[in-house]
């Protein structure tokens, strides 16, 4: 493997998979937090209380289910498709180590 020895290790160029993955991780956690806030606030905001609420249906489902779960679900799915296909970087993940270095004796293959 090609190796270098920089004067200050901290100045070595960061691994692009690590750098890109870190950035993508923060975005994913942010989306997760936003979705949580939307789902719980809308669902419980519109869904409670059960006893006094008048039955309001959209496409046969309670209104709070459509606005609090189905719509965020569709939005999150569209985001995931965009994120996966358009935003996430295509990184070189490297090559595989040979199994010979991992298994002891040779000549006993199945």
């Amino acid at each position: 493997m090609n190796t270098t020895k920089p004067d200050n290790p901290k100045l070595a160029a960061p691994d692009p998979v690590w750098k890109n993955g870190l950035r993508e991780m923060w975005i994913i956690l942010g989306v997760c937090a936003v979705t949580l806030a939307v789902v719980t606030s809308v669902s419980y905001g519109l869904g409670l209380p059960a006893e006094t609420g008048e039955l309001q249906l959209i496409m046969g489902m309670p209104r709070w289910v459509v606005l609090g779960v189905l719509v965020p679900w569709i939005a999150a799915t569209i985001f995931a498709v965009w994120f996966g296909l358009c935003y996430m970087t295509d990184d070189d993940l490297g090559s595989e180590l040979e199994e010979e270095s991992l298994v002891g004796e040779e000549g006993h293959d199945v």
């Binding site: 290790p9 160029a13 993955g21 779960v69 799915t77 180590l97 006993h108």
Partner: protein, 676 residues
């Protein structure tokens, strides 16, 4: 004791030959795939092929194996049971799946694959060992995986067996095998109380899944996962169409659910006057009635488990029953039977005794009572099935109050990355383009499975009333009901193949994972580093057999509500692995003591919170009698995340940094040759 004035015969929900043929073809396909996989295995290097499919999964295989492994019996039996029991609020409960795929694949998919390639790792403990150069980390991870994943397998075995029981109901092979099993096991304490049909089906499933997983290895698991993923997808879509059609549209179903008052739950013992000349069975779908002392109406009950009055005896064991409370529902159910032609349950007069206690209490310990147990939240109320928090039998605050809703969102959103089976698949894809496409494809796939399941099993409340006391079987019941009502009985074989596939795809993956952890991380790395491939191969086969046997034994008397076991086991794995693994992927300063303490820091609060619950259940401690497993409404997994994060940070910052060369290997574009 009440004599039975009016008894309705068993429902038409039972297995059929056509369904059996369809299901048989499906099982045959699984074996063909295993055989083909074995052919590939013979041409490649054993370890990386058997346990990781040579790390070359493409988009379709990667996506569907990821999806099929994530979707377990919990998704296809436990989750439907909860929808059936608690109603529309389950849409919130499962809503974490809105982001589950992007979190599970995107959070560290590329990083874990890269590190596994750099180190040649085949298992998760293997990868962690190389990342930290620490056998201790690997051993702790192995211990966690072997114990927790074994627990996770129990509900998978249970639901697969229940499906087979339903599929084979009335089949001569099952009936005669069960009778033979009865005679063999009646004097064996552990087996005497087990329903023999269930036990026979459990053994069949165990042999099927152990055989093909052992024979075919990871590639067989992935290929069958692909087929099972397709079966699950189309199974759900067909069920959705049939359910909406048969219920008369979703508007009608939700309006009926709004009227529903939660039922009462209890037990009944069926009694006859003279000792039975032969075994007498009262079906687990039988209806029976009793005049209501307070009104002109009748009280309507449904048996939820099969009652057996054995030859030479006069009464059955206590079986779970449900009493329908909603007047409109009672009217509808009575009207659905041929008027004036009630079919007797048995050819001899039958009486019964009612018991107030819920399921799993023996008749000797139960309280005989005319009144059954009411729901703690929702009793006597309408609209509870269409609004949060949803009715609950034991919790007076309802099934899913707001904090619990947030807790379960986080649970499903964040527990994916911490599952070793997920991590193994992330280590197995061929290039980063695959994981990018996988995020898009699986997000759509999950959206088209999980939300429709909520709709389907809300319809099931209307189509199949009174199954609340044994709701784990609602999936197979619904499959048979839909296909028989539609006049296509063979379709039932395909529909039940979906949950069966979900259980099977989880079992095979997890058994392989346990086996690989033992063979690779314990035997090959710690006991005999120079083991030959032949030794490794036979040890792998042996491990698979032993694990399968142990889980089969543990599944003989499984817990009643399987979803609780699924949540416990997957939550435990996530509490231990998620935060430390994220830190291992992205934090340069993270070191071995931090990793070890982080894992234990996640395990400790999780274990303590569950232990308090178990102690409370066993000894009914007054001080904590109202304690639920969720502290301040948040599931123990959440506290595990906090525990592992805090402990990992504090320990890491107060111990020596890791060697710079090791850090550079995983975090720099070009590895340095540092002195330390």
């Amino acid at each position: 004791m009440f004599s039975v004035p009016l008894l309705f015969g068993q429902d038409a929900i039972e297995g059929s030959s056509a369904a059996l043929v369809t299901f048989g073809l499906y099982s045959l396909a699984v074996f063909v795939i295993a055989w083909l996989s074995h052919k590939v295995l013979l041409k490649r290097k054993f370890m990386s092929e058997y346990f990781l499919g040579s790390r070359n999964l493409g988009l379709i295989a990667f996506t569907l194996t990821f999806g099929a492994t994530s979707a377990s019996a919990g998704s296809f039996a436990g989750f439907p049971a909860l929808i059936y029991t608690h109603g529309w609020v389950l849409a919130i409960w499962i809503s974490g799946y809105t982001v589950a795929v992007i979190v599970a694949m995107g959070l560290f998919g590329k990083r874990i694959n890269q590190i596994a390639r750099k180190t040649g790792a085949i298992t998760v403990p293997d990868m962690l060992r190389e990342r930290f150069q620490s056998p201790a980390v690997s051993m702790l991870a192995t211990l966690m995986i072997v114990t927790t994943v074994s627990v996770y397998l129990i509900p998978q075995f249970k639901i697969a067996s229940l499906i087979l029981v339903q599929l084979l109901e009335g089949n001569i092979v099952l009936v005669s095998s069960a009778a033979m099993m009865d005679s063999l096991t009646k004097d064996i304490g552990l087996l005497a109380s087990v329903e023999s049909e269930y036990f026979v089906c459990l053994l069949f499933f165990a042999v099927l899944v152990i055989a093909y997983t052992t024979f075919g290895g990871f590639r067989a698991v992935v290929w069958t996962d692909v087929m099972q993923g397709i079966v699950m997808f189309f199974g759900v879509l067909i069920m959705l169409v049939l359910a909406l059609w048969q219920v008369g549209g979703l508007n009608k179903a939700t309006e009926k659910m709004a009227l529903m008052i939660p039922p009462k739950i209890g037990q009944a013992v069926f009694v006859i006057e003279e000792p039975a000349a032969e075994d007498l069975r009262i079906s687990d779908n039988a209806w029976f009635t009793l005049p209501d002392e307070n009104s002109d109406h009748v009280r309507l009950f449904r048996a939820n488990k099969t009652a057996l009055i054995a030859e030479g005896t006069t009464e059955s064991k206590a079986v779970a029953i449900v009493e329908i409370i909603t007047p409109e529902e009672i009217e509808d159910i009575l009207a659905s039977f041929p008027a004036g032609k009630p079919k007797p349950l048995l050819n001899v007069p039958v009486d019964f005794r009612l018991y107030k206690d819920k399921v799993d209490v023996t008749a000797e310990d139960a309280e005989e009572s005319n009144e059954l147990t009411s729901y703690a939240y929702g009793a006597g109320k309408r609209n509870t099935y269409i609004s949060p928090p949803g009715p609950d039998l034991t919790d007076g605050a309802g099934f899913l109050p707001m904090i619990a809703g947030m807790s379960f969102f986080l649970f499903f959103a964040l527990n994916g990355p911490g599952q070793p089976a997920t991590m193994v698949r992330l280590m197995a894809f061929d290039k980063s383009k695959t994981v990018r496409g996988g995020i898009a494809m699986l997000s759509i796939y999950f959206a088209m499975i999980y939300f429709p399941l909520v709709i389907i099993f809300c319809c099931a409340r209307v189509l199949i009333p009174g199954a609340d006391a044994n709701a784990d079987r609602i999936m197979p019941l619904m499959s048979f009901h839909l296909s028989q009502t539609a006049g296509v009985p063979w379709l039932a074989g395909f529909l039940v193949a979906a949950p069966f596939a979900a259980a099977m795809s989880t079992v095979d993956s997890f058994m392989l994972m346990i086996s690989s952890s033992i063979v690779r991380d314990v035997y090959q790395k710690s006991i005999k580093p120079n083991a030959t491939q032949r030794e490794v191969k036979w040890l792998s086969y042996g491990c698979m057999l032993v694990i399968g046997t142990i889980v089969t034994v543990l599944s003989i008397n499984p817990p009643n509500v399987i979803q609780h076991v699924v949540v416990f086991a997957s939550g435990g794995l996530a509490a231990v692995f998620t935060v430390p693994t994220i830190l291992a992927m992205y934090w340069r300063r993270f070191n071995t003591p931090g990793m070890l303490c982080g894992m234990l820091g996640g395990l400790a609060p999780f274990t303590v919170l569950y232990s308090i619950k178990w102690i409370n259940d066993l000894y009914e401690v007054p001080l904590i009698k109202d304690y639920s497993v969720s502290l301040f409404g948040f599931h123990p997994m959440f506290w595990g995340f906090i525990g592992s994060g805090v402990v990992a940070y504090l320990v890491t910052m107060n111990t020596d940094p890791p060697p710079e060369k090791l850090v550079s290997k995983f975090f720099d574009a070009e590895e340095i040759e540092a002195e330390n």
